[in-house]
Symmetry: C2
Subunit: 335 residues, 2 copies
């Protein structure tokens, strides 16, 4: 029931999912008087959906505390389904703050993880890059950064299918002495862990789009701002290109001639292709679709959730943490 185009976009997105994954089973939760007729009109979406009624929906501007009090909201019932094991993951385009709060309280944080983080894919010159935290934790300590590295590594394995993803810690310079105590300690611990062979040390802002590492780890404040700054820069160039190609009849012709390549480029940078930020570190898969996502974007968010479930994302984190604790304990104790 959440997001700018809900529930229409959701049903259309699920029709795409049904085409791609006819064996998927979706528990569709929301107002049945609205969703029922919609499913009746979309046979394809209906073929993979079971409809469950929810008496209310969390509005996009509701405070997280309100979301926690309402027991019959569609978001709450979806989280309940994951908590009881009825569903393995939840996808929503609704209120982010409410989603984070409900996920923490209902689905709960994984043992060994201090705080969940928000992770997503970002385009780079060398393929997609996993970035986290994108804003779930505005204040982080070095332990959080180390956990983000473990969870980001698991994300890259399960969603990007990489056998040994490389990890970089975002900093103001690549030299070992750069940055504050937080990144210094996190780097020390990672260098002494079983992830050491995959850990490439500090990376800088431009390394995200250069694709220097498969995973880029940072705190939620910096990560959120870096993500939006990169998106803003891409949007600025997009607008400038539009102006360039519409400035004269000759340049319009130029556009037509270069169109196939330009369209491929636009498609490659298309936000829908990167839709689906994942709340990692919970006892289940929780995927946040952008509120403004279209049907294709929503379907991509569902793809991400299915990849994580199918490829054992949480098991991978558990393994990563176990290996890690063995190595990290003496360092943590020496702190």
């Amino acid at each position: 029931m959440g997001g700018d185009g809900a529930p229409d976009i959701v049903i259309k997105g699920l029709a795409i999912t049904a085409e791609r994954h006819p064996k998927a089973r979706i528990l569709l939760i929301g107002d049945e008087t609205v969703l029922g007729p919609m499913l009746a009109r979309s046979k394809r979406a209906a073929s993979i959906c079971t409809l469950r009624h929810a008496g209310s929906a969390i509005s996009m501007d509701a405070k997280p505390t309100l979301a926690l009090r309402v027991r019959n909201s569609s978001m709450r019932l979806a989280m309940d389904a994951v908590a009881t094991g009825e569903a393995q993951g939840v996808v929503s385009a609704g209120n982010s703050g409410a989603m984070l709060a409900l996920a923490k309280v209902v689905v709960k944080t994984m043992p060994g993880i201090d705080r969940p983080a928000l992770a997503a894919l970002s385009p780079s010159a060398r393929g997609d890059v996993v970035m986290l935290d994108l804003g779930a934790n505005v204040v982080c300590d070095w332990r959080n950064l180390v956990e983000f590295a473990v969870m980001g590594e698991a994300f890259a394995r399960t969603v990007l299918g990489l056998p040994a993803p490389t990890i970089g810690l975002l900093n103001v310079g690549a030299e070992q002495m750069k940055g504050d105590d937080r990144v210094q300690k996190a780097a020390d611990v990672l260098r002494g862990s079983k992830l050491a062979a995959q850990f490439r040390g500090f990376v800088e802002g431009h390394d995200i789009t250069a694709g220097t590492t498969d995973v880029v780890v940072t705190d939620g404040f910096t990560g959120n701002i870096a993500l939006k700054t990169g998106e803003g820069a891409l949007r600025l160039v997009g607008e400038m290109l539009k102006q360039v190609f519409s400035s004269s009849a000759v340049s319009k012709l130029g556009y037509i001639l270069a169109r196939p390549g330009l369209e491929r480029m636009r498609e490659w940078l298309n936000p829908a292709r990167y839709n689906g930020a994942v709340l990692v570190g919970l006892n289940g898969v929780v995927v946040k679709s952008h509120g403004g996502a279209d049907a294709e974007g929503f379907a991509h968010a569902v793809d991400v959730a299915m990849d994580m479930v199918t490829h054992g994302f949480n098991e991978r984190i558990r393994t990563g943490l176990q290996q890690f604790e063995l190595q990290a304990a003496p360092i943590a104790a020496a702190e």
Copy 2:
């Protein structure tokens, strides 16, 4: 003597400066056995330069502590000239860390300013934006952020010539309750100051390129990463466009047709146009040219320094701070 193409690029840049500002007076400091013959070959640069010999030069990888010990380096002598009032500003493409350390020790921080910051211009859809801190202070408290706002406002007035620049504080969301204690307190203080009418509250990463405010204030860790992430995104698109336009004979023709607009766009995003990061908050003007800048870029850095000197940048900060203390004192005391 600093930067990738020194001193050749510097002399070529000064020839451009001589053309633009024939009345400028440049004290050129470095190895006279190298610089003397170069100046003899560039009459234009020589017309505005007085050469002063320096017995050594700080290497690009020297530690700041070493830079502080060497008394006869070109960078040290240049800072000395500003400290004694012989020169009003210094421009260098040399070692950033050494420059920051020498500037603090020799030129010294302005009364009322806790720590200098690194500020620069960045492109946006609505004209150039002043961003600071870009990395001088990896750890900042709310007082630093407030001081950055005052200094950024003075920068926008003197370099961009804006009569009442607007100010935004970079955060993970525009809503008042977003962010950590640091940005919360800084915003409270700014709302209660004489800058209140120009203060637009919190801005997000994408607001930098959207040009939502004329000045964007943040800590040095986030600012450095945001700047480099934006640059990285622009570089990625630039590389993709190159590929698109060289992928076939037809798309090459498309490029030729759209070329005037594409060239204007490239020129507009040209890093040389944004070269010249300023260490603000010192008793003098200190401008850092990018180590990889070309002659045009170096000349731009000199332009920035001259604008700041000519338009009374430091006087403007002093005024800003005075007005500010009057208003901010009760809030600071109530902390």
